[in-house]
């Protein structure tokens, strides 16, 4: 995974609360293999009418915001399902950072596993960013090392789980870290079989 340090990019305001995973990617698209790309599914039903025509309702479809890599939303972004496809849709579209007052826990974990930064800001700061973007501000700078957002007047502090931060800064993948601990897992398994002999499924 590519390390994430400082991102300077076009940002899109998404002034909605509780943008859940079913809105980020409707279930019907999830049969698609990832290799085909998920970017075109991002927030599909909020951006298209019943016939599948783009409505231009979201700033994502504003031509002046083409190439956006940052999204700013209201509270509880990514609530709901564990579908990592929600993160794939964002990442394949080009988004590398979502700024919001709060995130669904599973969404935030999935984001970190795909190099997407969930940056949590105070509710007032989210409103300030939304207002600035909707009033014409084009882009923002997200500095993960300093945990700071610049570009909309006074710098705004954001918080991110320290574990997620380390992972993103280094571009680490959990799996490689864990595979090097095979001995500890084997030792645990042996001791656990003594401790909880009933824990193995019968049959």
């Amino acid at each position: 995974m590519e390390p994430f340090r400082r991102l300077e990019a076009i940002a899109c305001p998404l002034p909605l609360a509780s943008v859940d995973t079913d809105q980020i990617i409707p279930a019907r698209f999830m049969k698609t293999p990832r290799s085909e790309g998920y970017g075109r599914f991002l927030l599909h039903d909020l951006r298209h009418d019943a016939e599948g025509r783009p409505t231009g309702a979201l700033s994502l479809d504003d031509p002046t915001r083409a190439g956006a890599r940052i999204l700013v939303a209201r509270r509880n972004f990514g609530a709901g399902s564990s579908r990592e496809a929600a993160v794939y849709a964002l990442v394949d579209y080009g988004i590398r950072c979502v700024i919001a007052p709060s995130f669904g826990d599973i969404f935030a974990a999935n984001a970190a596993n795909n190099g997407l930064l969930p940056a949590a800001v105070a509710e007032e700061d989210a409103e300030r960013l939304l207002l600035a973007l909707e009033s014409g501000l084009a882009g923002l700078v997200v500095d993960l090392e300093a945990e700071r957002i610049e570009g909309a007047g006074e710098a705004i502090a954001f918080s991110v789980d320290p574990v997620v931060r380390t992972k993103l800064l280094n571009g680490w993948d959990d799996l490689d870290l864990t595979l090097s601990r095979a001995d500890a897992i084997a030792a645990f398994t042996a001791a656990d079989a003594e401790r909880r002999p009933w824990a193995r499924p019968r049959g």
Partner: protein, 473 residues
């Protein structure tokens, strides 16, 4: 003693501590995973494993269930939809390739993963259980630590049988007192979520406690824990007790004989110590809970059926008012009208939230000898639940009322198999998510208990189930 037992600990901490394989200085613990459940949607994770050339570390602890995409009608004739067929076949192939036991489409034990796990005794107290589905929290009803994970983490568990996790904070939600007749676990869940918000328990492991929780059957506890994620909780748990142990005895994958006795002793010892501390505690009066329905597009948009649609003009918080305005518009509702005036187009009884035998019995108690004014689907939680319901004659009650009795699967909860609510249609549903488009593009979902869905079917609008239950429960 393998574990120091110094300070008093909560149920959650006891189970967590028993699973720590290693700890990292910056916080997370590497947890051993006792059960890993996979379904058709896990294909991304299997692809990742293939990419890395890794085998499944513990096929003996991994179980596959076909549920998210399975059709609920005409199963024997082969699967008509090519996309759906590919999803179901892919799961079978992955299970076969990795030696994973599969409850597939033709298995008599097939059903929704969170119904099958408990039913088969795969879910036991004190276990860590993960699945690529957020409602894995359901299994916490047994005092297991169960939570949903995304595809990268599914791949991680497949490859290592472990997962790095940061310890969530501890929260207790206690329901004290006695529920009124006709009020159940679904109403308890929607009530606390309405009160605390859809992100109210974010970052927390919830323990449900109190006399009203103790009094719940396993079915009710499963419903309560199922909805933990809808309030933002990482997981929900209930301490194992006699109800838990009685339920587990004789289940196919549960221990037997002396081993069961030993297990039961360990399980009962998991209860939170009397003086254990929680980071957050909420106490709710069970007796004040009325049957609840949702009016909006988030599970927190819930109100007693006796109430009215909210008025955004009277909300102090601009963010909330904006959400309410938007939700009412999507739902096609106006502010300040009685909820019982809302006409529905169809009903759905099913999903891992409310499709177990007790749920079907509750709906049937309302519907017996009555007719539904609107069409609807009843999809039992598992093929075994379906068989039991048919033995009890519940299927006939549904069919005679005019509802369709179909096979088991996720069905209209998520619409992946083609069972969807048409655009603009309104559905009274026993599921767990009223998100925009959850039941199909443009679908309008009202969440409620099985008895309440049955009452809505009879009246063709949202209705209080209690009068229909009089003399029947």
């Amino acid at each position: 003693m393998p574990y120091p037992r110094s300070a008093p600990r909560t149920l959650f901490e006891k189970v967590w501590d028993q699973h720590v394989v290693a700890s990292r200085d910056d916080g997370p613990d590497l947890l051993f995973i006792d059960r890993h459940l996979v379904h058709e949607g896990s294909h991304h994770a299997f692809a990742k494993l293939r990419e890395k050339g890794l085998p499944v570390a513990r096929p003996d602890l991994t179980f596959g269930v076909a549920d998210h995409y399975v059709p609920t009608r005409n199963r024997s004739g082969g699967l008509a939809d090519a996309g759906v067929r590919r999803m179901v076949d892919q799961l079978s192939e992955n299970a076969r390739a990795h030696g994973i036991r599969l409850f597939g489409l033709d298995d008599p034990r097939q059903g929704i993963v969170h119904v099958v796990g408990p039913e088969q005794g795969l879910t036991l107290p004190g276990l860590t259980i993960v699945c690529g589905d957020s409602h894995t929290s359901t299994h916490g009803a047994f005092g297991a630590m169960a939570f949903g994970i995304g595809a990268s983490d599914v791949a991680h568990v497949l490859a290592t049988q472990t997962l790095w996790q940061k310890r969530p904070r501890r929260m207790r939600i206690a329901f004290e007192g006695e529920l009124m007749p006709g009020v159940g676990a679904k109403d308890m869940a929607l009530s606390w979520i309405a009160r605390l918000g859809a992100d109210g328990a974010r970052g927390h492991a919830i323990e449900y406690a109190g006399s009203a929780v103790r009094a719940l059957s396993m079915e009710g506890r499963l419903t309560l824990c199922n909805l933990s994620i809808e309030g933002g909780g990482r997981l929900g748990m209930i301490a194992p007790d006699e109800t838990t142990i009685r339920y587990l005895e004789g289940r196919p994958f549960a221990p037997t004989g002396d081993l069961f006795a030993r297990a039961a002793e360990d399980w009962l010892a998991l209860a939170s110590d009397g003086s254990a501390a929680f980071d957050r505690e909420i106490v709710l009066a069970a007796g004040e809970i009325a049957p609840v329905v949702t009016w909006g597009t988030s599970p927190e948009d819930a109100l007693p059926i006796t109430g009215e649609t909210p008025d955004p003009g009277r909300m102090a918080d601009e963010g909330r008012a904006a959400h309410a305005r938007e939700a009412l518009a999507y739902m096609g509702l106006v502010p300040g009208r009685p909820l019982t005036e809302i006409a529905v187009d169809r009903v759905f009884i099913g999903s891992c939230t409310n499709s177990r035998i007790e749920d079907l019995r509750a709906a049937a108690a309302v519907l017996a000898g009555r007719k539904a004014r609107v069409p609807g689907l009843v999809s039992p939680g598992s093929s075994l639940v379906k068989r039991q319901a048919e033995e009890e004659g519940l299927d006939r009650i549904f069919v005679e009322a005019g509802l369709e009795w179909v096979e088991s699967g996720c069905s209209m909860c998520v619409g992946m198999n083609g069972d969807i609510v048409a655009p603009g249609e309104r559905c009274a549903s026993t599921t767990n998510r009223n998100f925009k488009g959850r039941q199909g593009p443009g679908a309008r979902t009202h969440l409620m208990s099985p008895a309440m869905v049955a009452a809505a079917a009879i009246e063709g609008r949202l209705a209080d189930a209690r009068p229909y239950l009089e003399g029947r429960i």
